[in-house]
């Protein structure tokens, strides 16, 4: 059969369609990341990678600092904790939206409204907590006027505040994927389980929950990543808590690019390992295009 233009387009058209994306991602994601990793093997204040000056000096320096390990555990620990707390907090609401609201349009509108409220600037959202958690804020005013405490509590600049703010910030990162996977569960499965002898709780646990895990995993990953890289919120509200992100930012702002790159690379490697583990387990591509 003759090789027509049509046939060429049909067979190779899809490669054409993805080319711009591939280019963009290569240029602006892969290469920058590679640059970063390479630079971590240099030292000083240079910003361009110098092959002749490759050394592990930065890594040695960083990995031998005891504070580094504290920071690492702090950063990853807080991120994991936030992810888990967000999951626990969000799941019942996601369930409610997916199963208990019948009108699909209503579901959609609620979700979109949440989305809209969500993209308010990150920092403004967090300063909104000032009037609530601050020393003259509502919580303190309430607690003091009801006599529970004498002095205003210093809630705001602490880990607790950070977690609260982070949970609120990431609520939707967790809600959407969880909701997505919950709403796609075939209701036949649930009532069949009940008609085979499962009580409502057991049906939920064995069927609904298990089947929603793929979305939950995505949500956990989202939240984990977004809190991991966030230096802004801790710098403003965590009162002195040092995170990896902050460290990177710190060195970058002093133009010590290679050292910043070293911290960043370490963070990158660990994150990638964790992420690929989680994604592998949950087989994420299955929910999206297979």
């Amino acid at each position: 059969m003759p090789l027509t233009l049509e046939k060429l387009v049909t067979k190779y058209g899809k490669y054409l369609m993805i080319t711009p994306t591939v280019i963009v991602y290569t240029l602006f994601l892969i290469i920058p990341t590679a640059t970063l990793i390479l630079l971590s093997f240099n030292t000083g204040e240079r910003y361009a990678f110098d092959l002749s000056a490759v050394t592990f000096e930065n890594y040695v320096k960083v990995l031998s600092r005891p504070t580094f390990y504290e920071i690492m555990i702090d950063t990853f620990g807080m991120a994991l904790l936030t992810a888990f707390i967000t999951f626990v907090v969000v799941y019942p609401a996601a369930y409610y939206l997916a199963f208990k609201i019948e009108n699909v349009r209503l579901q959609g509108i609620i979700l979109f409204l949440l989305l809209a409220m969500y993209w308010i600037d990150w920092n403004i959202r967090s300063i909104a907590w000032l009037p609530i958690l601050g020393e003259q804020g509502i919580v303190n005013q309430l607690l003091m006027s009801s006599g529970i405490i004498e002095q205003p509590l210093k809630i705001l600049f602490s880990r607790l505040a950070l977690i609260i703010i982070w949970v609120q910030t990431n609520l939707l990162f967790m809600l959407f994927p969880t909701y997505l996977s919950l709403s796609r569960i075939n209701p036949d499965l649930i009532y069949t389980a009940k008609a085979l002898g499962a009580s409502p709780w057991k049906a939920f646990w064995h069927i609904t929950f298990r089947l929603s895990l793929s979305g939950v995993t995505v949500g956990l990953v989202f939240v984990f990543v977004s809190t991991l890289g966030d230096y802004a919120t801790p710098s403003l509200w965590a009162g002195g808590l040092q995170t990896l992100g902050l460290t990177v930012h710190h060195y970058a702002s002093f133009f010590r690019w290679p050292l910043a790159a070293t911290y960043a690379t370490i963070m990158l490697v660990i994150s990638l390992i964790l992420l690929s583990l989680i994604l592998r387990i949950s087989n994420i591509k299955r929910i999206f295009y297979e």
Binding site: Y15, M17, I18, P20, T21, V24, Y25, I31, P32, T35, Y47, A48, F49, V89, P92, A93, Y96, K100, V104, R105, G108, I109, F112, L114, L115, A116, M117, W119, I120, D121, W122, N123, I124, R125, S126, I127, A128, W129, L130, P131, I132, G134, I138, Q141, Q168, L171, L180, S183, V225, L228, G229, Y231, A232, S235, L236, V248, W257, A260, L268, S271
Partner: protein, 277 residues
């Protein structure tokens, strides 16, 4: 009959959660209208000063000007909008064909999926830092809002991408094949079959990318100069000056912009939908 107790309990819980989520935002809006420079309750009086006070009315110092008069703020808003809209359009232009291509198998599909996903999952500092180094390496020393756009593109596209992928009608490929079997050419298939069915998805691409870009701070902060986008501008201010309700006003404005955009989106996208995603 088994009454649906769960529905009531969960409903209350969800409402409380929503309250938790929305209260700070509501605070921001309410407090933006307060007179006086303190950041918390009680509210002494209402005023539109933080929006409209001309320079000098509330005292000297730029941070006491109403935001509509504050050139820095309007500059930042403009920058954010330009970056956001450009990102949105580009995301749509390159993202939609990619999403369409993903319905078919091709070499490297999984790999591309993970790469795209990484754009969203890569922590902000890493991406920001990498971007700075990259630009410097290729010789771009001056940053502007245009250096932010590609980074935001990489960051926002995945979110729209996966939400749109999840929304595609699995029958779409079948419809296209049917159209071809009836004699339509490739272009006609796209124009008359594919595009009408994915109109809403196409719009989603733009909307999600636009709003994500508006709120993005970390990555933008590395590759921007001048006043910056709204988030970077605000962050810089917050680290330096004492807070005033002016920030609340700025927050309210950003919220209003994204709210307006997404409300339109919500109405358009859920029209006649049988399921949301």
């Amino acid at each position: 009959m088994v009454k649906d107790k769960a529905k009531v309990v969960l409903g209350i819980y969800t409402a409380l959660l929503l309250a938790f989520f929305l209260t700070p935002l509501a605070m921001v809006v309410v407090l933006s209208f307060k007179a006086g420079a303190s950041m918390t309750f009680p509210i002494e009086g209402f005023s539109l000063d933080w929006y409209f006070a001309p320079p000098g009315k509330l005292g000297t110092g730029g941070f006491r000007t109403g935001i509509f008069y504050d050139l820095y703020v309007t500059d930042a808003v403009k920058s954010s909008l330009i970056v956001g809209i450009t990102t949105g359009i580009l995301a749509f232009v390159i993202g939609l064909p990619t999403a369409l291509a993903f319905r078919y198998k091709f070499v490297g599909r999984d790999l591309l999926f993970y790469i795209i996903l990484t754009g969203f999952l890569l922590p902000g500092v890493i991406m920001g830092l990498g971007a700075v180094l990259f630009y410097k390496m290729i010789g771009i020393k001056e940053f502007s809002i245009w250096t932010v756009v590609p980074i935001h593109l990489v960051y926002t596209l995945p979110f729209s991408f996966i939400l749109v992928l999840a929304r595609f009608d699995p029958m779409l490929v079948e419809y296209e094949k049917a159209a071809r079997a009836l004699g339509a050419s490739g272009w006609e298939v796209f124009k008359k079959i594919t595009f009408p069915l994915i109109k809403t998805e196409a719009l989603s691409f733009f909307l999600f990318s636009f709003t994500l870009s508006l709120g993005e701070l970390l990555r933008a902060s590395y590759v921007i100069a001048g006043t910056g986008t709204i988030p970077t501008f605000i962050y810089n201010q917050m680290s330096v000056v004492a807070p005033t309700p002016k920030w609340y006003a700025m927050g309210t404005i950003t919220m209003a912009i994204s709210f307006g955009v997404l409300l339109i989106g919500a109405l358009l996208l859920t029209r006649g939908a049988r399921r949301v995603f």
